[in-house]
Symmetry: C2
Subunit: 118 residues, 2 copies
DNA sequence: CTCGTAGTACGAGGGGTATCGTACGAGCCT
DNA sequence: AGGCTCGTACGATACCCCTCGTACTACGAG
């Protein structure tokens, strides 16, 4: 009915105060999840799970997105059959100022380093 | 012989270029290791393993220090029977500018938040 | 040399996790 | 309604990791 109708039931997210640094770091310590977060940050818009071209099956993909959500890194919302994913920039910035940007920059840097065969 | 004699055999460390962001994040995603790194950063000097008051046995302690070393977060050197630990600030800063400081600040912030019962 | 201290090596136990396959549910489109 | 697509749930498998205990090595002090 509304413009950006979010159908379906809601998904459990940790409150901002419940986000633990260790959990965030653990979530990002997996290459697959780090890549997801990088793409999400680069595109700057919410993306559905299926828009990521991950080299794993759907089940595994679901698993990784859940880890990211439960650690507080991303926010997930149903829109029709699609599940939209967005970075929790504000919450992370409020809790750990500058951390997300440093992490994204570090990931980009490493990707460039590897990409150039260095 | 030299002034700060480092006796014993050398320990394997990853070269700067071999340090992987994922490994660093994984190393720091353990509360015990994060605490170690925080203390190391706060003291600003090399510390022997036994100077940390960790709530685990010696074996476990050894394990955590090794993970930190092998991921490139710390540098370890024998000095007599003691093993001195130092943060690899320069290498990490060269690879991932600003990341270490953001991480340490985040850890401090979270510790303060928890310490104040918030 | 003997003893004590610092740390290691190795193996075991217990829990977590990354992956998959298959079967299922929830919305859209015709 | 029927079918399609997106994502979930569940179990299985294999691996990794935190922890410990015990036995061991390396170095320094007396």
């Amino acid at each position: 009915m509304t413009d950006t109708a979010t159908t379906g039931r809601a998904l459990p997210h940790p409150e901002r105060e419940q986000i633990r640094l260790e959990s965030v770091l653990h979530a990002l310590s997996d290459p697959m999840r780090l890549q997801i977060v990088c793409e999400l940050a680069a595109k700057e818009v919410e993306l559905s799970c299926s828009q990521f071209d991950l080299p794993v099956t759907k089940s595994t993909s679901t698993h990784h997105f859940r880890v990211l959500r439960e650690s507080g890194v991303i926010r997930q919302v149903y829109r029709g059959t699609a599940k939209m994913n967005g970075l929790r920039r504000d919450d992370l910035e409020g809790l750990f100022p500058g951390l997300l940007d440093s992490l994204l920059a570090a990931a980009d840097r490493q990707a460039a380093r590897i990409g150039d065969g260095r």
